[in-house]
Amino acid sequence: MSMKFAITAGVFAGALAMLTGAALAADATGSVSVTGFVNGKCTVQPPSEGNNFSGTIPLGALDGTNGHISSTLTGSTISGASLSFTVVCNSSAPSITLSATQMGDSVAAPTGYTSAVDYTARLDLAETTGSEAFTYATAGSPPATAGALANPLSGGTNNVTVSVNSLNTDGGANTSILTAGNYGSAAGGTGGIISVTIAP
């Protein structure tokens, strides 16, 4: 009887062992997630206080021999009338705004004369693929030109160029004589400020 009992117990124990072995031990995994962000940012290079770029485009004598706006300044391109800057933007489509103010010399202009010179400001931006240009004509003080680039701003140097062209008076008629003086605030006159904003 005892033997029969022993055999039964042995079988039971073996079954228990089989059940335990069937619960296979699996790998255990622990994970560490690392998250971060890169804020959209446009930065002037080299870094400057206020993250601004600035400069002055000297146009020299604005009048021609007849006292009217010089014909060398009325064309769509003016040699040497540009400045380039380096801006780093890490966003895929930076947004641009461009505006400019009319130049003046703060002199009251009598009939037949003018102290106001309009022009077209132009902004050229080199992108990772190709380039884009924005323009703003000061006549009539329209709203700022705005838009977004189709591609990221190039990571190279001098990727932003500001230039001036198409100086004019009298709404483009160029019929008035320019009063003598310094035009543009940079020279002691008024206006002549081109404002550029590049945002990520």
């Binding site: 031990a25 995994t29 560490v32 890169v38």
Partner: protein, 185 residues
Amino acid sequence: MNRLATGAIALLAVAVSNMASAAGSVMGSVGIDGTVADRCVFTSTNVVLNIGEMINTSGPSGSIGLLDPSRVNSQTAVLSGLCNGTSATMSVRAFPMLNTSFAATPPSGFSKRVDFTATAQVQTNSGVVSVSNDTVSAAASVPQTVGVFANDIDVSFSNAAAVNNALLIAGSYEGSVVVTLSPST
């Protein structure tokens, strides 16, 4: 003769009957056994490291917009685990930080990926066991034996770098490190 035989048999039967009643208790034994499976368990929850802004926002010209490696390399995490098998092993797999906001191919000069090396280290009865894996590798590190242990597993980071050291595209980035404890099989 038959009377003799009969008498003899009767005497034997009586002798046997007397022996059985003198035995008393019956003894039996029950054996029990069980098993403890080789097992590894993490006793801590998963860790999330938020490293914040990842690029240089100031400093020398030319470094603005580039990854600040120290943002990643300075990070550490602690996982707690245990294994009860003498042949248990530990391995680690690192996955790069990828921009989750920008799906397109980065333009020239830009990157949306940060690679790094992750190291998991634990003090065991046999000494310190360390495994490392970089995010460029196609597989986890070779498992190293940790044996029986119950301790903290320190995870650290190094060699963080953007692909081609390019400017990082703006957006959210996420990567991960997976530490695997494998029990004896």
